[in-house]
Assembly symmetry: C2
Homo-oligomer: 205 residues x 2
């Protein structure tokens, strides 16, 4: 698939068909993620392929707890709309992938002495590669952020120094919608790019 | 360009030709960045196009200070190798882009209540889109991380609540090398993907 097509047709997917992602497609998706750049060539990521329904049940329980709390941040029609939204596909998708960042990998990492979080940023770049490669394979990805890092750490037995960066639901989608879901339900609109670009200093057009 | 080709041929570029990036290509690159997914459709990013050589000079001074300190983390041959590496192209590239994250944009952002840093992660996804789109346009990007966020904040007049996420050198490269520079000079090798993939729990093959 053309790069721009993958970028513009990528969506955050929450409704999945149950059929599994073939191993060869999954291999290409993970290899693409692994070929993101990383600070000092640190490659701080791991990919935990979560199929075990007991593990996923614990993650889903964390989602439900945090989602109830999040709903209370809104009132009236906004709250009704929030509660109507499907925000994850943890149990229905055939596969979850937790992308983690090992913050201690590789000792003194070149380029990381001044801004320590560049390892997290590198891992995000791997996630975006994964998301785009999945799109090119016809596979949907949904990033679940309504979660508790402590619960993920326990459910996935993460050792000290390894943090969960992205918890992804992965599988063939019911559809790739034309527009982002939050845009099509009227939650929030796309900002005009021109408003976001400045010259030489923040705020200068 | 094919997505996988862009992913595998993307490089962190430090040696640039001086010719400017045409406005239409730059527009496509920024639009691709803007079409990354973001938590709650927050779109927390701005793109500061830095051409002013006085601003870039201040950024370069910050790089030089931090690069001297970073060199001292290594000893012997490793230090000699470090000092021989070209790690930025701030003044030679025709354009720098600082991608920022406005941490207060959009009020109570859906999906961000539990993990506050998801806005930073979204901005990283935009950076990766930018990097890949640039590659497809034949344009090189180098991420400079040996910098001081306070110096960037001052040089770019960032208001409170806006953080510099990525400082990028942008332009046509002298070449897109076959391999990552840190690999080809023997600084660090690529990890085997198989070692990075686990099943259901961290450490489980």
């Amino acid at each position: 698939m053309d790069l721009y097509e993958a970028i513009y047709k990528r969506r955050d997917i929450r409704k999945f068909r149950p059929d599994p992602v073939p191993e060869d497609a999954l291999g290409r998706i993970l290899e693409a993620a692994h070929h993101a750049g990383s600070v000092g060539f640190m490659q701080p990521w791991n990919f935990i392929l979560v199929r075990d329904l007991a593990v996923r049940g614990r993650v889903k329980a964390s989602f439900e707890e945090h989602n109830r709390a999040a709903a209370e941040l809104y009132e009236g029609g906004r709250r009704e709309l929030y509660e109507s939204l499907k925000l994850e596909g943890i149990l229905e998708s055939p596969l979850n992938i937790c992308v983690t960042c090992d913050r201690r990998r590789g000792g003194t990492v070149l380029g990381r002495a001044s801004i320590l979080d560049t390892d997290l940023f590198s891992t995000c770049c791997a996630v975006q590669n994964l998301w785009l490669a999945a799109r090119a394979e016809g596979v949907g990805v949904g990033w679940v952020s309504i979660l508790d890092n402590a619960a993920l750490t326990a459910a996935l037995a993460l050792p000290e120094g390894v943090v969960p960066l992205a918890y992804l639901c992965v599988g063939y989608p019911v559809e790739f919608p034309e527009s982002p879901m939050l845009e099509s339900v009227g939650w929030r609109g796309r900002l005009p790019l021109g408003d976001l670009v400045f010259r030489d200093r923040f705020g200068q057009r």
